[in-house]
């Protein structure tokens, strides 16, 4: 019996519950059904009670959790479906197919609802370059995304790539897909309806690949992960493309009652969920399922995760038209069953009834655990801002890069950051993705926010990802709050009103109270700020057991946000635009920390900080940013992110595609602002060098045309604040003039010169950094 429980990955308590629900021990195929649908992956048994806390109610939400993806109303007839999902374990075992099928799976969740997929985004976390199989994994994952996304014709428009040793044995591959319903396009659900209607199977034939995939994804990795290779699915993007076009056509023609893709736990989860949602019965004939190989057993048919397969419900009258459409796209639609009056799902092989079971036993009655968790307490906090500054100073003195002759250590440090694997250009990745197919891309993956044109309303859609793992290691509550705040502010800085969010909650073993504590704190923090910013969470995914041989990953609740801009013109650029433009810093200090730089210099010690993110203050900053980003004289905007102010200024210089623009910047006014804000008595010099690399959440760099000098700008800023019901005196928001854009050189000074560099040289380091770290890859 223990062996059987282990094989089906069920606990003894779960077995007892099954016996209680059935009134007898499970038999035959029931074992496989409970194993699949009660897996963590399908049942969300450790997370369900906490996911309910998410802020998900908002007028613009049309569909939310429970469907394949959430749907929001964009007004003017357009609606948007989007969702994010993980494919971590398969990608570690077989990076190309793991990543490719991750993309395929998330796309099916979108077009299943009737939305045309218009964008993809990927959040990737890897271990250390050149260590173990890491380069092979980076290469395989990027090729997998490229191979699948490019072929199906959906552009990959943005992404984020992180490196940290905690992902060495368990990389993360999270893919987000966005789909558009044009005015008039129907939204379909997965609710089976209408006794007498037929159940239709469309797509690739069923093979043995991916059998037990869902339960594999619900386990920690031991040493023998390579032996799990047979449970990884193989993707066929050409088939997926045919499914996209044919499914959108049958949905558009009104030939479909309900539709669901066969994802995790394949036919089992799609059929049982469709029946449960519609509160109807289903009669399925497993012997009619198209097979690749006639020796496949009924259990394998039920659990196979072969890719590119859909299950549809249609009326018998529409069947000929439905079949005709699929046939034209080179696909066969097979009737494999029917909707029944009863409440049971009945599985047949020919005339033999294999199983008859109420789907609610497998779905609604799945375990719902209240795992023990540690109550959240602030972590890694220092007593005062002055202590943060002192620590930055200390780290700088001990570990700052050694200057070459004629340079200084501040410059050497900035150069090292630009060339570091954390800070170098990701162009090598993005140029392998088609970023423009679909002819909607306005801003591609070169910027922090991708922009897509909505043709029907001549408005722009913004898409961006969030979460900074080093902030999660610092303090999970703050890191999770930042996972919403930072991308929301990035959208606002480009003039996009944030509308809604999806997430992919990647965590370690939920049976460990400290991991569960981070999980609960993250959800609560995200929900709190989502509510304040009115950014409902409309879809998402939980990936637990990201643990290999006892090592848990950094808790990584990644986010994907979308925003809407009312016009196409005038989106502020990410990099410097004109020589002479004025440079300002919008400064709204809440949390001061040593940041990613502090962690990189800290010899294993995570970042330290003081303060916390205040949702209300983020909301104020967001409102001001939305106004500023529509100001006709604002030319560029950029959130100050990882590694602080100097790095962000440098990125504004090096990212400019043509010509070389730098800046002349003085930190003196900022230094005095900081002294005031934090009440520190540090000398100016001490403050300045720390200002360059530490992080103040939140700061935004913006440039205006030359004629908007400090006096005019301050006046306008005061008026903007007033328009938002704030004032210069009462608000924590400060606007500081830093300097001007200039040709070729980057100069940062305080009372004395801190740094002087040629932009061309910085650019070279930033662009060539990747190749340096991954020299073994072509």
């Amino acid at each position: 019996m223990d062996k059987k429980l282990a094989h089906y990955r069920l606990s003894e308590a779960e077995y007892d519950k099954i016996c209680e629900l059935l009134g007898r021990p499970p038999r035959g195929l029931e074992w496989a059904l409970f194993s699949a649908l009660w897996s963590e992956h399908c049942s969300y048994k450790s997370s369900r009670r906490h996911l309910k806390k998410f802020y998900s109610q908002s007028q613009r939400v049309l569909e939310s959790f429970g469907e394949n993806a959430g749907v929001i109303d964009l007004g003017e007839g357009e609606r948007l479906a989007f969702k994010m999902e993980s494919h971590n374990h398969p990608s570690y075992i077989e990076p190309y197919q793991g990543a490719a099928t991750g993309v395929g799976g998330i796309l099916r969740d979108i077009f299943t609802m009737g939305a045309r997929p218009i964008a993809l985004a990927d959040f990737l976390c890897f271990g250390e370059p050149n260590k173990g199989p890491m380069n092979h994994l980076v290469d395989g994952v990027v090729r997998g995304i490229s191979g699948y996304g490019n072929c199906v014709g959906v552009p990959t428009v943005t992404g984020q790539t992180e490196f940290h040793p905690s992902y060495q044995g368990n990389i993360l591959v999270n893919a987000m897909a966005v789909g558009l319903f044009s005015p008039g396009d129907p939204v379909v659900t997965s609710k089976a309806q209408g006794p007498g209607n037929v159940v239709v199977y469309v797509g690739a034939k069923t093979g043995r690949d991916g059998v037990h995939g869902a339960s594999m994804a619900s386990e920690s990795f031991a040493e023998d992960s390579a032996s799990k290779r047979p449970t990884v699915q193989i993707g066929d993007p050409f088939y997926e493309k045919l499914l996209i076009e044919s499914c959108l056509e049958v949905i558009g023609k009104g030939l479909v009652v309900a539709i669901q893709d066969m994802g995790a736990a394949g036919l089992t989860s799609s059929s049982f969920e469709m029946a449960a949602k519609g509160a109807v019965g289903l009669r399925l004939f497993l012997d009619r399922v198209p097979l690749r190989d006639s020796s496949i057993t009924p259990e394998e048919i039920l659990l196979s995760e072969s890719q590119e397969r859909m299950l549809l419900i249609a009326t018998p009258d529409n069947l000929p038209d439905l079949k005709e459409v699929f046939w034209r796209w080179g696909l066969e639609a097979e009737v494999i069953g029917e909707v029944t009056e009863g409440k049971e799902v009945e599985l047949f092989w020919g005339l033999e009834k294999l199983v008859s079971i109420d789907p609610l036993l497998l779905t609604e009655n799945a375990p719902n655990y209240d795992r023990p968790y540690e109550v959240w307490r602030d972590k890694n906090r220092l007593g005062s801002p002055a202590e943060v500054v002192a620590q930055v100073q200390e780290l700088g003195q001990a570990h700052m890069a050694r200057p070459s002759e004629g340079a200084n250590s501040v410059l050497a440090e900035l150069e090292a950051l630009l060339a570091s694997v954390e800070g170098c250009s990701r162009q090598w990745i993005y140029q392998q993705y088609d970023q423009r197919v679909g002819a909607r891309t306005m801003v591609d993956a070169s910027g922090p926010v991708a922009a897509l044109r909505l043709a029907d309303s001549e408005r722009a859609l913004g898409v961006t990802l969030g979460l900074r793992p080093y902030l999660m290691r610092f303090d999970a509550r703050q890191g999770a709050m930042d996972a919403v705040a930072f991308p929301a502010l990035e959208l606002a800085a480009k003039g996009f009103q944030p509308l809604a969010m999806t997430d992919c909650l990647n965590f370690g073993n939920p049976e460990k109270p400290e991991i569960m504590g981070e999980f609960v704190a993250s959800i609560e923090a995200m929900s709190e700020i989502c509510k304040e910013l009115d950014v409902p969470v409309i879809s998402g995914n939980v990936s637990f057991y990201n643990e290999t041989q006892g090592v848990n990953i950094t808790s990584t609740p990644t986010t994907g946000l979308v925003g809407l801009r009312k016009n196409l013109r005038g989106i502020p650029k990410d990099s410097f635009v004109n020589s002479g433009d004025q440079i300002y810093l919008l400064h709204s200090p809440m949390l001061l920390c040593t940041g990613q730089w502090g962690e990189m210099k800290g010899s294993g010690r995570v970042a330290q900080g003081h303060g916390e993110i205040h949702p209300g203050q983020v909301s104020e900053l967001l409102k001001i940013l939305l106004k500023l980003s529509h100001h006709s004289e604002v030319t560029a905007t950029r959130m100050v992110g990882k590694m602080g102010l100097a790095y962000s200024l440098a990125r504004m210089a090096v990212e400019r595609p043509d010509g070389e623009l730098g800046a002349q910047v003085s930190l003196e006014p900022l230094g005095s602002e900081i002294r005031k804000a934090y009440g520190t008595e540090q000398t100016s010099e001490l403050i300045s060098s720390s200002l360059l690399f530490h992080e103040t959440l939140y700061q935004v760099l913006l440039t205006t045309s030359e004629q908007v000098g400090p006096e005019i700008m301050m006046q306008e800023f005061a008026e903007l604040l007033n328009a938002c019901g704030l004032s210069l005196e009462s608000s924590n928001l400060k606007l500081v003039h830093l300097g001007q854009v200039q040709a070729e050189r980057m100069i940062i000074s305080d009372q004395s010169l801190l740094l002087e560099a040629k932009v061309g040289e910085l650019k070279k380091l930033w662009q060539e950094g990747w190749r340096k770290h991954f020299a073994t890859m072509a």
Binding site: S146, N150, C151, F238, K241, Q431, V437, A439, A455
Partner: protein, 217 residues
């Protein structure tokens, strides 16, 4: 009256709608031609063969599409002098159908490349972009198999006959002689690796692609 142009779709083609949108924007009247269709060539002022992974690029890029029923009519159109433009995968299809010389091989880097590139016009073609030789345009490329290949003898022949249409200013894929686009000897059938349909408005990052659709009438 706006000119009718046929946009050929194979199973798996994915730049079809983009090309349709660009053609419409240029004042043309696009019509779909399905891979199984037979059509009357003279009904169309031009034929456009879009980019994007027909038949998943299985076997060889464009090889399966080149053997579909619709290509019989496309061949007839070429014989009758109907202008034909193949973009990216469409270029690969025309080479596989031997309506254009040479072949497109995997990029030298072994990787897909998405980038904006500058092209220089080598020989102007009356039916297509008719700028002056030496003039340049800025267009996006997006391909895994864009390395133009032709043997030495063939290269000399197409050079002598003025069949080289565009060259890259900076070669993104290892194409022989920096070739980005070629024509048949008549100059009516042309193939281009970059995507003009992705550069027809300022919001896209440029509108140099418009001129590729302006000459059709």
């Amino acid at each position: 009256m706006s000119a009718r142009v046929g946009v050929v779709r194979f199973l798996g083609t994915n730049c079809d709608r983009d090309l349709w949108q660009a053609a419409e924007g240029a004042g043309l009247k696009p019509e779909w031609l399905w891979y199984e269709d037979n059509f009357e060539p003279m009904d169309y002022a031009a034929l456009l063969i879009p980019g994007g992974f027909s038949y998943g690029d299985y076997l060889r890029c464009g090889a399966l599409a080149a053997r579909t029923p619709v290509m019989k009519s496309v061949r007839k159109a070429a014989q009758q002098g109907v202008p034909i433009l193949g973009i990216c995968n469409g270029f690969q299809v025309l080479c596989e159908a031997e309506l254009l010389p040479g072949a497109l091989l995997p990029n030298q880097s072994g990787r897909f490349v998405d980038a904006w590139v500058e092209l220089k016009l080598e020989n102007s073609k009356d039916s297509w972009a008719s700028g002056r030789p030496g003039s340049s345009v800025y267009l996006p490329v997006a391909h895994g198999d864009g390395r133009y290949h032709i043997n030495e003898e063939g290269l000399k022949a197409i050079e002598d006959r003025g069949q080289i249409w565009w060259r890259y200013s900076k070669n993104p894929n290892g194409s022989v002689a920096d070739i980005a686009g070629v024509s048949d000897p008549s100059g009516k059938v042309v193939g281009l690796m970059p995507h003009p349909e992705r550069a027809v408005a300022e919001w896209m990052g440029g509108q140099d692609g418009l001129q590729f659709f302006k000459e059709i009438s």
